[in-house]
Point group: C3
Chain length 158, copies 3
């Protein structure tokens, strides 16, 4: 019974994190700033090329910013793929990785503006999972993007 509960809890934890990552695109493309920020810990970070954010408030500000509002009023889709989540043995922290593309609506139609590697660190804080660090790098050949994927996925196979 305790064993079944442990296995069930692990699935619930992984699914909660998968769900948060799956909700990022819809939230940020809807422009819902507060709910997007709530995915992050109060002092969580989001490091995306050219735009370092160091707190939940910074993420909220990003969603409300002119550059982001310009993106969504023109049309965009932050399209994140299925994530691979690994919860640590103690059960209160996790790493996740996924790939993503950013599709933008431009004068000549929709185009892929970027393909990206995403690495997340989560902590369970006050009873719910929160992003403590997210790093995103363009898959433009740079070694750093490939290292992010490798670091996030380590130990999955086997």
């Amino acid at each position: 019974m305790a064993e079944l509960e442990r296995r069930l809890s692990r699935i619930e934890d992984e699914r909660a994190i998968e769900r948060m990552i799956a909700s990022y695109g819809p939230l940020v493309d809807a422009g819902v700033a507060e709910a997007t920020g709530d995915l992050w810990a109060v002092d969580g970070s989001y490091d995306v090329e050219g735009w370092p954010m160091r707190s939940r408030a910074d993420v909220v500000a990003m969603v409300g910013s002119d550059p982001h509002q310009g993106l969504i009023t023109r049309g965009c889709c932050h399209f994140l793929g299925p994530s691979v989540v690994t919860v640590t043995v103690d059960g209160d922290s996790a790493v996740a990785v996924c790939e993503s593309i950013l599709v933008r609506n431009r004068d000549d139609g929709f185009t892929v503006a970027r393909a990206g590697a995403n690495h997340f660190r989560f902590q369970r804080i006050d009873g719910r999972w929160q992003i403590v660090a997210r790093t995103t790098r363009a898959l433009n050949g740079q070694v750093e993007a490939r290292d992010l994927l490798a670091a996030g996925i380590r130990g999955v196979a086997r």
Copy 2:
């Protein structure tokens, strides 16, 4: 024991819905009309810009239609991302949201023809989940698409 069963059933319900949404693209791109229609309730609706469908039979007809058959014989991919599913407290209805892109094969290669916001309402009817309403809008900057995402994702964070 009853508590474990309740938690397990919830995961099974959410997974059943996630699976149905994940099967839409493969089914519709394979052109399997009846099985695509079976995702919908007999009187379920699918409202996609310029093409309102008001029943399972309408969905079956769409898959078999000249425009859709033209798409798939030329080459296309209805690519839906991971969905975020919220089952209601009573356990017999659910809302889901995901983003999607439509990739088409054209003379000059594959292109993104559209990015979309998708909102689903499901009901458990005759013991299985069925789509009672799906709404899809292009993420071309229109407020309606962003509202669909916001409505579907509400209450996810926190």
Copy 3:
């Protein structure tokens, strides 16, 4: 109790397979050859247009090959969508299907180089799931790609 365990095990099996498929893109885009190969059985196959692989070693060699290394040092994203997994009644084999796009970084930016249909057969070997056969075909209108999707998804609806 035995019934709960059976239902839980089924979810764990399906999730293990979903996770392996979700890890393929990050692994192959990171260029981690051995870990990519470990997704396959020793004598597993990967049949992708113009490049038949007949063993785990062949998959490892593909990742390390000049063509693949050229792709990733230039920038690419093997973006696989959510998979639909069906475990057989005996519990030791499974079929999965998903769609995918390959995004490449080129001189004029990122483009969709291919949309694909993916069909996987898994076996539980030595206590872990392994790919025994993967077939990928471009969704360029060919009947074979549509048949792959239909074969993998059969029996999902209803």
